[in-house]
Amino acid sequence: MLADGRIPSTVYGAEHFLRLFIKLPELLPASSLAEDQVALLATRVEDVLRFMQLKQQQLFLPQEQYIAAAQAGASATKSLQ
């Protein structure tokens, strides 16, 4: 949670969200999932990925719009005030 009470999902976007899908198998060890349940879950999660691919141009920032670290800090502080 952010200091002002907001949650990260109201500040971060598709780039960080996409990283979650890489980590999801580790975060969900599935030790008590049946095989069919794992398959169903994978299907549902992959549907989200397909949506993100479909909307890739709208969701993700082009690399040239990334900013330098120093600039990012100032920008973030200002924008969240």
């Binding site: 971060y12 598709a14 975060l27 060890p29 095989e35 890739q56």
Partner: protein, 187 residues
Amino acid sequence: MEETGLIKAPQDGGPLPNSKKGGTKGSSQAAKRTADGTAAPAPQLSLTMPAPLKKQLLDDHDAVVENSKLLPLPRSPTVVEIVQQYVAHVLGRQPSADAEDDVAAGLQLYFDKALVHCLLYKGERQQADQVGLRGLDAELASFMRHMDQLVATHAAILRTELQPMWFIGSASASRHPAVHTSPVNRC
């Protein structure tokens, strides 16, 4: 890759398990017993990352890690908005999206709890501090508390077809000790 544990998505299939479409997910691990009678590993979630998104991950990694760039925050659309758009997208193709809504809500919840532990590159930590993310120690304790609370707060979800999904992430240390052993390192 940096200390986040995020694995740079390789060109040959990404950091995700090498799952393939066609129903093989987890099948090699799902047998109840192996030939010698010992318990087989539980089936693991195996996701197929579309190639364009793999490239997106690589480009993002290169920008942040190799070129010391950062994403300007807040982003637009946010994760909340993406999840909302996804559910609306599903409702555009079918009359109900209850299951998809549950999954999307779960993903958002995991994102909120996992961000500082797993989803930031080292170069992004300072930016996270600047936008007001709590310190890692406090967040770690909060992370574990929330994981335990998920069972109670998402009781309805637990009764659905995806019941085990959120339960696993909410398991107590006694049931899933690995959850409580250095989540930062696990990520």
